[in-house]
């Protein structure tokens, strides 16, 4: 493995975007205020200086148009990378995602591919309130032909972008906004992370903690606490939530017999429901306790710092749930 450096997830994403722009003239970036302003989260800051406004395209406030216009360009050979300023606004573009991007190639044939990468800062934890804190991976899971990635660290955030480019399909990149500033080791030369492969971040035979995005660090912390109680957690970072790495999940559960999914989407109909169902179908015989789910509460995400944290899984709630399963 090549040497690494510590950089933030923002910097890693910026580097991956720059790399793709340099290596492939078909790539362009498109979104609101991504040029001089660098986007609401400053991910694209400075990129326009190198590539100019023809490839770093600032748009009107038109999420639906952005996605579908990009799909049209993709249809002719472009490889657009879209930024939707907050994932909440993606709801405005669901027709383009569901009825166009996820369907054109499947319907009309392989000559009609519309490969898109759609990046979106997502999730809670910043007190932005009900319309600026959602994460739609749980909802989008039910759309056939869609790929959904949820990186938890700088190397994966960059690597999944390269992997998404290679996959040449419609990929939703869910970037948790609380992770942008997090530092992590990244190889000198960025390496693609293949779509659909999770990673085991810690081995343990007592309980599986299956997480993605910002809940991966939380799961690792919970694992430390549990280890002090002699409970060894197997921590899985899904990295891609669609397609799920079912074999890694099975591998983990067949060892532990107990597990928890930890997600940013609401629990009902979310990613954990799918994981639980997959565990049911593939690891039933190994289960020693019912597989459990943690995720966002069934409500709006409030702005108040006093109210918001209770809406999401935490190191504490993971530990509590794990103890419950261990003593089941």
């Amino acid at each position: 493995m090549s040497t690494t450096r510590q950089i933030s997830m923002s910097a890693a994403i910026r580097e991956a975007l720059t790399t793709l722009l340099r290596e492939h003239e078909e790539v362009f970036l498109i979104g609101e205020d991504i040029g001089v302003y660098g986007g609401a989260f400053k991910i694209t800051r400075g990129i326009v200086d190198e590539f100019g406004p023809e490839r770093i395209i600032d748009t009107p406030i038109s999420e639906a148009g952005i996605v579908s216009v990009a799909a049209g360009a993709a249809l002719m050979g472009s490889r657009p990378i879209i930024e939707i300023m907050f994932m909440d606004f993606m709801a405005l573009a669901f027709d383009g995602i569901i009825n166009i991007a996820a369907k054109w190639q499947a319907t009309y044939g392989d000559e009609f591919a519309t490969p898109l990468i759609i990046r979106a800062p997502a999730g809670g934890g910043r007190n932005y309130g009900p319309t600026h804190s959602q994460s739609f991976e749980g909802l989008l899971l039910n759309v056939p032909n869609l790929t959904i990635c949820c990186p938890s660290n700088p190397a994966d955030a960059a690597g999944l972008l390269l992997g998404a480019y290679d996959a040449a399909t419609t990929v939703i990149m869910v970037e948790h906004k609380t992770l942008y500033a997090r530092q992590g080791p990244v190889a000198e030369r960025l390496e693609p992370v293949p779509i659909g492969q999770g990673a085991r971040l810690r081995s343990g035979s007592d309980i599986s903690l299956i997480a993605y995005g910002r809940h991966v660090p939380a799961a690792l912390q919970a694992a430390e606490i549990l280890a002090a109680e002699d409970v060894q957690a197997d921590v899985i970072d899904l990295r891609t939530v669609k397609p799920l790495d079912a074999s890694l999940i099975l591998d983990s559960l067949s060892n532990t017999g107990r597990g928890i999914s930890i997600e940013e989407s609401p629990v009902i109909g979310g990613v954990g429901a799918e994981i639980s169902a997959v565990v049911m179908e593939s690891a039933f015989e190994y289960l020693e306790a019912p597989f459990a789910r943690l995720g966002a509460a069934e409500q709006i995400i409030p702005c108040s710092p006093a109210l918001e944290p209770a809406c999401f899984p935490s190191v504490d709630s993971i530990v509590v749930k794990a103890r419950e399963l261990i003593s089941y």
Binding site: F28, G72, G109
Partner: protein, 303 residues
């Protein structure tokens, strides 16, 4: 249009009409799955526009797209196969009438979501502009599609970026049962272009010559980088919206008035008046088209 072009236009319009009429029969016999939307009465739009385009141009269609595809050179056998849901159909039978595309023809797709292809055309044009490639994007849509927000977002982007797009609005007076007057505060669809400082044209879409001429003229400006143009083709859907539509929302008088402006009858009269066409030629063409179509149907059925 040259004399030859006029004859070609006439033949293609008749081919479209024959295709649609036959499809209607098959429908009534229960031989067509799903649903389909016929363009009877709008043949001059499909043909006039298509004839003014080049092979580099990228054509986007909508739910009422058989004429657009036939006008672009689509193979009736593969279209029928698609409509029947057979493997040899343009989309392998997956798409049916509302979802066919043909890469070789730069025909980028009929589509079932109203207004859904408008932004795709804008994106295709954006691609051309970035890579400085030839060809303009052309998108057919009905006046009903103007109600969708994506219409607005698309025209806005095309206008600010001066993209090579021809927005071709076939105003056939109705969106399903809804008359244009009931859903539009402006009398003519073309007036929408003002909000985008976009050039627009209003043409008799039942006159293939005018449609062709306007499209050709507009296309050359668009191709030269002068920005998008909005063309309103005023026409009429002679057929019902889709299967089993008895058109309770419009009057028989109105239908009769428009029947007098039937684009095929008008062109035939013009050709006959100019001595370019005869009743005998018409009978021969009719027979030829029937044979062609029967063959296509045969191929489609077995595919």
């Amino acid at each position: 249009m040259t004399d030859d072009q006029l004859l070609t236009a006439y033949r293609t319009m008749c081919r479209i009409r024959a295709f649609e009429l036959r499809l209607n029969e098959l429908f009534l016999q229960g031989l067509v799955p799903g649903t389909t939307h016929l363009c009877i009465g709008q043949e001059a739009c499909a043909v006039g526009v298509n004839m003014a385009l080049t092979t580099d141009d990228m054509v986007f269609s909508n739910h009422r797209g058989h004429g657009h595809l036939l006008g672009r050179g689509g193979d009736p056998a593969r279209m029928l196969a698609e409509i029947f849901g057979h493997p040899n159909g343009y989309s392998g039978g997956r798409g049916g009438s509302q979802h066919m595309a043909v890469k070789d023809l730069n025909f980028m797709g009929t589509h079932g979501i109203t207004a859904g292809t408008i932004p795709l055309a804008v994106g295709a044009a954006l691609n051309r502009k970035i890579h400085r490639q030839p060809g303009v994007a052309v998108v057919f849509f009905g006046e009903g599609a103007i109600g969708e927000g994506i219409f607005h977002e698309s025209l806005n982007m095309a206008a600010i970026w001066k993209l090579p797009v021809l927005f071709v609005c076939e105003n056939n007076q109705y969106a399903m049962s809804t008359s244009h007057g009931d859903i539009s505060p402006v009398a003519n669809a073309a007036e929408r272009a003002a909000a985008y400082a976009m050039n627009s044209r209003m043409v008799d879409g039942n006159d293939v010559v005018a449609t062709y001429a306007t499209t050709a003229e507009a296309r050359s400006g668009v191709a030269a980088g002068e920005g998008p143009v909005f063309i309103e083709l005023q026409t009429y859907r002679i057929s019902g919206h889709s299967r089993g539509d008895e058109c309770p929302y419009r009057s028989r008088e109105e239908e009769a008035q428009w029947a007098e402006r039937d684009p095929i009858a008008r062109l035939r009269k013009r050709l006959e008046d100019a001595g370019q066409w005869t009743a005998a030629a018409d009978t021969a063409l009719e027979t030829q088209l029937a044979v062609e179509l029967a063959e296509a149907e045969e191929i489609a059925r077995e595919s």
